[in-house]
Symmetry: C2
Subunit: 417 residues, 2 copies
């Protein structure tokens, strides 16, 4: 499969892009390579696609089901009761819907944690999108439950070939306060033995950190360090409540930190210390979190939210300029997962978007990146390409109506309880 994109705006110059075997093979003017498919790029700009570095995609089933509540009330009285009835098939359709929403708003790779792993994994395969998937390991200190979860994770690991290459199997441990130390240590060793990433929530709320300190005498990052858990394989979402000493450890050990601004604002979890992280050289990515706390998976929205939150909370309008927000959503996130994507250069994976420069929000085009960060929404994306495969063209995704119909059946049934 080869693809030639003609006359597209790339870094302000009209360029042709030749793609073969999933990679960007050449960039230039008047390229004459033979290609299986030719896309006319006039009035469009090419940009790298987005990596949504932390989400729970099947939670599309719960979009706008419960909002404006205290975290505790929200989880215990709304989200968890709803989730009790969710089947693997529901998760399949929930993830399919999320995948369509992501493709439409320019995301081609995401990092997920949820139950019913096989439902999510099959949905990723059938969508043509790519993902790091982890099951949510939660044992609440219960030894039996812990064993059961470990058995499940090992089983999933041994069946991971079934979903490759679209799905990268990842170890998920929900959070320190929901997983026993034995569970955390098992995850550490299993991930090390098999070269896997570990995906977890970390220091999201002040309450959770305060309670952890009371319970263990250690701050969460220090505790993880004492267990020798820190490393470039660790992908920590949120990380709002950390001291400078903890930030230094995250830098020194190359931990990947994932910022979820909308979710943090909506649940009032805290303000991500972006500038302190940046000054210390922490590796950072950007994410939407699940749709129950966002309520979409649009990374264009997320970039705007990220930079405005930093500017407002620091009372400094120069913090996180547009190009830094764009970096977080593309190359920054991609590097956390060792993905060969996030920029349009020869040799990189052909994960890229064609943006419709005739969309009213992108006129005039004085500067493209600020226009994307501050003005655009997902509807400005015309074409989404992942590993050289066209997942959307002219704003249309294959099979959308069929997925929507099945999804609605699932969500209607669930809401009736």
């Amino acid at each position: 499969m080869s693809l030639l994109i003609k006359n597209v705006l790339l870094n302000d110059n009209e360029t042709d892009i030749f793609v073969r075997d999933g990679l960007i093979q050449s960039l230039g003017t008047n390229l004459t390579n033979h290609a299986d498919e030719i896309i006319e790029g006039k009035n469009k700009a090419a940009i790298p696609s987005f990596v949504n570095a932390h989400t729970h995609s099947a939670m599309t089933l719960m979009r706008s089901y419960a909002d404006d509540l205290e975290l505790h009330d929200w989880l215990e009285n709304k989200i968890w009761p709803f989730e009790k009835n969710i089947t693997e098939e529901d998760v399949y359709w929930g993830t399919r819907l999320a995948a369509i929403e992501m493709i439409k708003s320019g995301t081609t790779h995401f990092n997920d944690m949820y139950w019913h792993y096989d439902g999510s994994a099959q949905a990723v395969m059938d969508s043509g999108i790519n993902a790091h998937l982890s099951s949510a390991f939660i044992d609440l200190g219960d030894e039996e439950l812990s064993k059961k979860q470990i058995t499940e994770q090992v089983d999933l690991f041994h069946r991971k070939n079934k979903y490759e290459p679209n799905v990268s199997f990842t170890i998920g441990i929900h959070a320190l306060y929901t997983v026993s130390e034995a569970g955390v240590l098992w995850a550490r060793d299993f991930a090390k033995d098999h070269g896997l990433k570990i995906h977890m929530h970390l220091s999201e709320t002040k309450k959770e950190v305060d309670e952890w300190v009371t319970q263990t005498g250690m701050r969460p990052v220090d505790y993880l360090d004492s267990l020798n858990m820190l490393g470039s394989h660790l992908l920590a979402a949120h990380v709002n409540w950390v001291t400078d000493e903890e930030i230094q450890k995250l830098t020194d050990k190359n931990v990947g930190v994932i910022h979820c601004p909308t979710s943090n604002m909506k649940l009032a979890s805290g303000v991500f210390p972006y500038q302190r992280m940046k000054n210390a050289g922490v590796r950072m990515g950007l994410a939407t979190d699940g749709v129950a706390s966002n309520n979409n998976v649009d990374m264009l929205d997320e970039m705007k939210m990220a930079t405005l939150l930093q500017k407002s909370s620091s009372q400094n309008p120069t913090i996180m300029p547009a190009k830094e927000a764009f970096y977080l959503a593309t190359k920054g996130s991609a590097e956390l997962f060792d993905l060969n994507m996030g920029e349009i250069v020869v040799g990189k994976s052909a994960d890229l978007l064609l943006v419709d420069l005739q969309n009213i929000h992108l006129i005039p085009n004085h500067h493209l990146i600020p226009n994307l960060v501050y003005s655009a929404h997902g509807g400005c994306i015309d074409t989404t390409i992942s590993k050289g495969n066209i997942l959307m063209e002219n704003g249309r995704v294959n099979d959308e109506q069929n997925v929507v119909n099945h999804f609605k059946e699932a969500s209607d049934r669930l809401v009736k309880g």
Copy 2:
């Protein structure tokens, strides 16, 4: 002109809406009124259209021209030099483009302040949208300039019939720190004599308020009160830095206060005291401000920004629930301008939207208002109707390509200086 909308979802029930002479005449099932035009509303929801209560619409010309700068640097080195070269024709095309962007994202009435009034006013007429328009009165304490500005405003007032009924002439005084006391007093008396609204910026930044206190010994609201300027005719944008005593005065005198969350966050101007205002009973609306500090005019984005800013800054996720953000953007804003719109009930102006419930961001439809506030973007609007006139159908606005072409000529010339 009459219009019958069939089978549309209104407050969760399938309803027909009959419109004649610009008003909603009847609501019900199986309406059989004869109508000049029939719209099938299946798979769509009807909601009131938005009122963008404070913007500078021609600033679309400067979208993403200069971002991530200190307010002073931004204004003096970027915005003002650019604005020096803007002609009345540029303002016409800038406002036409903004009007299309507003129509596409569901706004049918806006409140504007800018130079080259006739350019804006003619653009409003030609777009079919409606607006309160004011010229920017700035005299910087210069007596000659003040006289010139007053002459201009009086002249515009006497020619206001030309632009009615789409344009409501409004007195604009830029801000206390840019207009002489004589200018403010003239505006007060002229507005009173002719029953006009006054539109101004008020207490946007801490610096501006601190300097005003140093200079006059009074806080801005107290100063306005001492001049007998407070009243329901006064429309004050921003109002971030106010004491409880000032808030009480705004309530007692029925002043209209306009919140601009994105602009305040982007320029780091301060956090609007929503809950304190709400508790005191202040009349409030919502707005995007100009595109140079937003960078779009999408009121759906603005609702999300408003509630997330309040939740995050107060560390309370229950503040400004979705329905309150929606109220601010519709009825709240409409009431500031005494508009007979903002809700879909018999007798109100037919200013309403049909939302595409098949848009991926609105699936599932557990709760429409939270879906609109937290998940939707402007692209979810299918049909925009103002005073019974269809300004957009199936996402298409008349004359868009022609406006875009002229607009690009203007912005290209301006950026070359």
